[in-house]
Subunit: 425 residues, 2 copies
């Protein structure tokens, strides 16, 4: 099922699509050479926004949930990619311990766990799910809407190893973004493979660091294709730690927002884009406290100060990012594509849609729903020769390329933040 | 579309299927460890026969044709596997030269070329087709039934490199089994990747060598699963060079046929199988001269001598192989599964069916046709817990395992026959 793409038939994005398709062999070779030098994240998902005149990633998740939203047709690709990933990292693996988020009652999330368990079981591993939640003191089985069930077992830490009762895994797969910090029970597991590494968690990651890497990637990719990197790169600024209740913090925010809006305005003028620029202000470490704020005018920041709630954390690390409209629609609801990757392979994706949000708003919010993309005949199956914008597979191939660029940026980012980096030097 | 499997609901094959499913993580791990030590063939296809009481490969092709018989759903898996293969062998590759058989007028074969071109193009390579046939003196474009076209271009050898006019490939992919010998134009291409290597061609390969490797593989696999390797291994004997017009040659053949029939009879007795044993006699090097002869009684060999045609080559290297019935049927036609692999991955398959052949006859003959298997949700997607024999995905997973065992045997075989082996030691 392919949504009607408002942007499908017109706009500068079609030029980009044409350029991407024409350069397909060069692009694939470029990725191959990059993966010789850099290690892809174990798995990832990337939220993409297509503004018609620009196509950019806005969020790169290194502990992706939502695997159950992929269609059954995408499953074999995910299994094959999981085989490749396991083979490369830990070919001798027998047992895999999957460590989920602590949301033990959310059936959507538990369906995601069921799907991950299926993928890695089919890749040839014994998979069990070990919860690090203090609420899970004994085996807890939850029925899923599809009739299957998921059993969460309490983890056991025995000296240097993490496991379950009668289950000693050689590999531990985190599906927990560690936003609340790295729990002690996961530290110093030197005898087991811990995937992804702990520094991929949000207690260490910063969005600004990721988009700094992405900017570097987009410049090199833009050079390869001969296109302005801005067409795929959301500009950003940062303020470090900002106390939103103090004027001093707001000053930095104000000047960054102002500067970024000016830069966007200049770009819009260059390309003749009749839209009103906006930026989004959000926590650099993805902590939920301040939410995601859309700002079209620097004056709105004063209101923001007044609106600031007393119970929210007053001090945040903040990133100010160029807002990217999404012009894709499905049944009148605003839609944005999400691309899923395992190892270096795009294995699927879906549209996140939200009927009550606008084209300039965050869709990853309560009320959103998901429509699988025909990614399985997409990211791998571009159709050369078809008119730009007219071919869903060609459009999806481009999304897969952007998703992989963000994944590559995450790879750079993880290298730069690796606490054990010296050990390899 | 899944054919009705006569063997699906009963018979010892279900025990094997159950054992294979129960051991899935062990099997996948075993393959992973094998591929750490051995290099899979670049691509391969394996003909499998399911006799209900026994399941065995009967032919392993290292230059597989028939890629166009795979369904569109299987294409993304093939593309992803091709990406993995290219990345491992020649990540810097830009241009791929595909060298086909010299059958320049067979549209089925040309459709196969079109499909291979599509797969490797989508994996990110510039693909062109270079013929080594003396008939191709200029670019020759042939329309395919699906509306596409294939252009065969004459190859050019310039010093140490093979290419086309204005096309210098770093990688050459052979889809020509070299049964007629290795042409000089393909020798000493030390500057380019030649895939598969020349010693994978039928001028060097011997079926007896392959099945000797397969016997070794099946013994180790049987041990892993705790099953009699005979359940997956066709026994064989060989005579070296036999002159079918002379009594001396026939003597060796006669004693081998007799000995093999006795061994099969013993196995049939052990398992209570009420079938009449038979063997097949065929050229060890796959040369077409003598065809494939089914022998149920050693006396039939005398008739064979008389029937021998004057224009056929009188001297052949011969392999005598245990005949494996195929009990699978589709619309009353005898069917046998063919499994396709790229690198170490099963990417698809189909049933070869032949309405005019018997369960003990070779189906790879004029008049055969092809029905795609639902392999895409099959070899990767076994359904644990389903009653043995009742699940097509479980059956196909088992076929994929047998296919990979034969591929592993081919890997052993290529190591043993590698003329440059010393250079690596």
């Amino acid at each position: 099922m392919v949504p009607h793409l408002i942007t499908a038939l017109t706009g500068p994005i079609n030029e980009l699509e044409q350029r991407v398709l024409d350069s397909m062999p060069a692009i694939e070779r470029w990725f191959r050479l990059e993966w010789m030098e850099h290690t892809p994240p174990f798995y990832s998902s990337v939220d993409i926004r297509n503004a018609g005149f620009k196509l950019a990633p806005v969020d790169t998740n290194l502990y992706p949930g939502g695997w159950h939203n992929l269609t059954p047709e995408m499953l074999p690709l995910a299994v094959q990619a999981a085989m490749a990933a396991i083979e490369k990292i830990c070919p001798e693996a027998k047992n895999l311990l999957l460590i989920p988020e602590n949301q033990t009652r959310n059936t959507f999330y538990l369906s995601n766990l069921g799907q991950l368990r299926r993928i890695f079981h089919m890749a040839g591993l014994n998979v069990r799910i070990g919860s690090i939640s203090p609420d899970i003191k004994q085996n807890t089985t939850v029925e899923l809407p599809n009739g299957e069930s998921v059993t969460l077992e309490p983890v056991q830490r025995i000296k240097g190893r993490l496991g379950l009762k009668h289950f000693d895994p050689c590999t531990i797969l985190l599906n927990n973004d560690l936003a609340a910090g790295i729990p002690g029970i996961l530290e110093d597991l030197h005898e087991q493979y811990l995937l992804p590494p702990l520094h991929a968690g949000w207690s260490v990651r910063r969005k600004s660091r990721h988009f700094q890497s992405y900017e570097e990637v987009s410049k090199r990719f833009g050079k390869l294709l001969g296109v302005d990197p801005w067409l795929i790169n959301p500009m950003f600024g940062q303020c470090g730690r900002v106390d939103l209740s103090q004027d001093t913090g707001l000053d930095c925010l104000r000047s960054n927002v102002d500067g970024l809006l000016t830069k966007i305005r200049r770009k819009y003028k260059e390309y003749g884009i009749p839209e009103k620029p906006f930026v989004v202000v959000k926590a650099d470490d993805s902590s939920g406290g301040m939410g995601i704020i859309t700002v079209r005018d620097v004056k709105a920041l004063d209101a923001l100060k007044l609106k600031h709630q007393d119970d929210a954390p007053r001090v945040s690390e903040v990133i100010i990012q160029e807002g990217v409209l999404t012009y894709e629609r499905m049944h009148d609801a605003v839609a944005e594509p999400v691309v899923y990757m395992m190892d270096r392979y795009v294995v699927g994706g879906f549209y996140r849609i939200h009927a009550e949000r606008g084209a300039d708003e965050n869709l990853n919010a309560p009320g959103s729903s998901f429509v699988p993309l025909a990614f399985e005949q997409s990211t791998h199956l571009p159709q050369p020769g078809v008119k730009p914008g007219a071919s869903a597979p060609n459009r999806f191939y481009m999304y897969g390329v952007i998703g992989r660029l963000a994944m590559l940026a995450a790879s750079y980012e993880l290298e730069a933040t690796d606490p054990n980096a010296e050990a390899y030097a």
